[in-house]
């Protein structure tokens, strides 16, 4: 898993990524130097849980991807079943290209997780 995250980080503008469960348990992480693992996990967990809760309340099922754009960067939360792939990127990236890389990484992680079941 870590290998996939490391490879993902080589992508243009990707600052780091982690696999985290919706309750905030870190499965694997490869974050940049200035990103604190615990903080990212806690924030990711809060975004995932609260968003899921609201979607359930509207009876809309669940979400598989959340792309969040902020002034100085972007965050992508991608559901891989047992956990979420959380990716932090620079703000100037072309998200269309980066999303392809992220979805590819998510697919590989999902496949490996299935194989190891």
């Amino acid at each position: 898993m870590l290998q996939i995250l490391k490879k993902l980080k080589h992508g243009v503008g990707i600052r780091g990524s982690m696999l985290v469960t919706s309750d905030g348990i870190v499965v694997a992480a490869d974050l940049g130097g200035d990103l604190e693992e615990e903080r990212v996990a806690a924030m990711a967990s809060s975004v995932i849980q609260e968003t899921q809760r609201c979607i359930h309340k509207l009876d809309l099922g669940s979400f598989y991807e959340f792309v969040l754009t902020a002034i100085h960067g972007k965050m992508v939360f991608h559901d891989i079943g047992v956990a979420f792939l959380v990716v932090l990127t620079d703000k100037g990236i072309n998200l269309d290209h980066t999303l392809i890389e992220i979805r590819g990484a998510a697919f590989k992680i999902k496949s490996r997780a299935k194989m190891s079941e």
């Binding site: 809060s46 809309l60 002034i71």
Partner: protein
């Protein structure tokens, strides 16, 4: 290039110019800027993109075009500085490169270069100054205690290495005033006057600071952290400095003065109602960012307005909070995708717009509609002091 091809390009340019004149949306402006780039007129492209950023500071499309053009303009300089750094690394080249990335808005890259600079030239104050400036800017954007503290930490480090750095002294003095630590602000302003005794702006500011210091009394240095947290909690500076030349000096803040807005609700209603013709629309609403008050809504399909309202408020709150805590600044847009379709959120000055669509509606279509709506939405909201 043939005559006819040339004519065709000129006509296309004239068409785009007319389009921007009649309907200055971020998409149209980005297209016109791109056309100028293709024609090799980078300066004109920059001018258009700059106008676009000024009119639509939250539009990702125009911001991306602006950064791309600015980077194109600076590409030669970036290459030159990278080559200098490889052959003959020196603090000036590192500093210039970091400043270029800072001005391009790529603060992560700028900080990376500064970190490299600190490792290679630990006695250069440049890296601390640039990181201090970046944090200073963010402190002003988001009012987060962490940004203010990091700004001061870096600016003070720059001053340890060069006690006469004008910029570090001035920026840190401004922050000390904004949080209410007048003694430290006065100390830094006095330091500026030792080597720039004719700086009247600083002299006047110092007089104001000393008057406030006498009025407020002594504040312990240990309270610095608490003062920053106060700014973050109240979402406002303790004191505001007006004007770059300090001509209006300091304005003590007497009560909650976070920016207020007057909103033309009719315009918002028209815009939200106009979405009704969008195929696959499940619901759309516009609300006040600060209060969550609904300003306009259009619910089309099987969902309760109250539930959508709660969802939008909650997703915005957690996303904004996470963005600030993960050090990427304020939330500006989001797209939540699921089997249900997509929820699009756009945060603008004073308002938040949300559009929920079914799975058949392509996100590009919704995002295009949002871009089209932006001029009207921006005009509907006016900041009042």
């Amino acid at each position: 290039m043939g005559f006819f091809e040339n004519l065709k390009k000129k006509r296309e340019l004239a068409r785009l110019e007319r389009q921007v004149e009649l309907n200055p949306t971020p998409s149209n402006m980005a297209m016109l800027a791109q056309r100028y780039i293709n024609m090799g007129d980078v300066d004109k492209a920059f001018e258009i993109a700059q106008q676009g950023v000024k009119a639509f500071p939250n539009s990702e499309k125009i911001l991306r075009a602006f950064r791309y053009i600015k980077k194109t303009q600076l590409q030669a300089k970036i290459r030159e500085l990278n080559s200098v750094i490889q052959k003959n690394p020196n603090p000036v080249a590192y500093g210039q490169l970091a400043m270029i990335y800072k001005d391009l808005g790529d603060t992560h890259k700028a900080v990376d270069i500064c970190t490299d600079l600190t490792h290679k030239f630990p006695l250069s104050e440049n890296s601390y100054l640039i990181i201090g400036e970046i944090r200073y800017q963010r402190f002003h954007e988001d009012l987060l205690a962490k940004d203010g503290q990091l700004a001061i930490e870096n600016l003070e480090k720059a001053l340890e290495l060069n006690a006469s750095n004008y910029k570090a002294l001035r920026l840190s003095a401004e922050i000390y005033i904004e949080i209410g630590l007048f003694e430290k602000a006065a100390r830094n302003l006095k330091q500026i006057l030792t080597f720039a005794p004719t700086d009247d702006g600083v002299r006047r500011l110092l007089a104001e600071v000393e008057a406030l210091e006498a009025e407020v009394g002594e504040i312990e240095e240990e309270e610095q952290e608490w003062l920053f947290i106060q700014v973050e909690n109240r979402r406002q500076f303790t004191n505001i400095i007006r004007g770059p030349e300090y001509d209006k000096m300091i304005l003590p803040v007497m009560g909650p003065t976070a920016t207020r807005y007057t909103i033309n609700q009719d315009v918002l209603k028209r815009q939200i109602n106009s979405l009704a013709k969008m195929p696959g629309l499940m619901g759309a609403l516009a609300m006040e960012r600060e209060t969550g008050k609904i300003l306009a809504d259009r619910i089309v399909l099987r969902i309760k307005k109250e539930d959508l309202e709660e969802m939008v408020k909650t997703v915005f709150r957690v996303s904004h909070n996470a963005s600030l805590r993960m050090d990427v600044g304020s939330f500006s847009a989001g797209r939540v995708s699921g089997d249900f379709g997509n929820l699009h959120l756009v945060a603008m000055e004073g308002i938040l717009v949300a559009i929920l669509t079914d799975p058949q509606t392509k996100p590009d279509i919704v995002e295009g509609s949002i871009q089209e709506m932006m001029p009207a939405l921006s005009n509907a909201v006016t900041a009042v002091e």
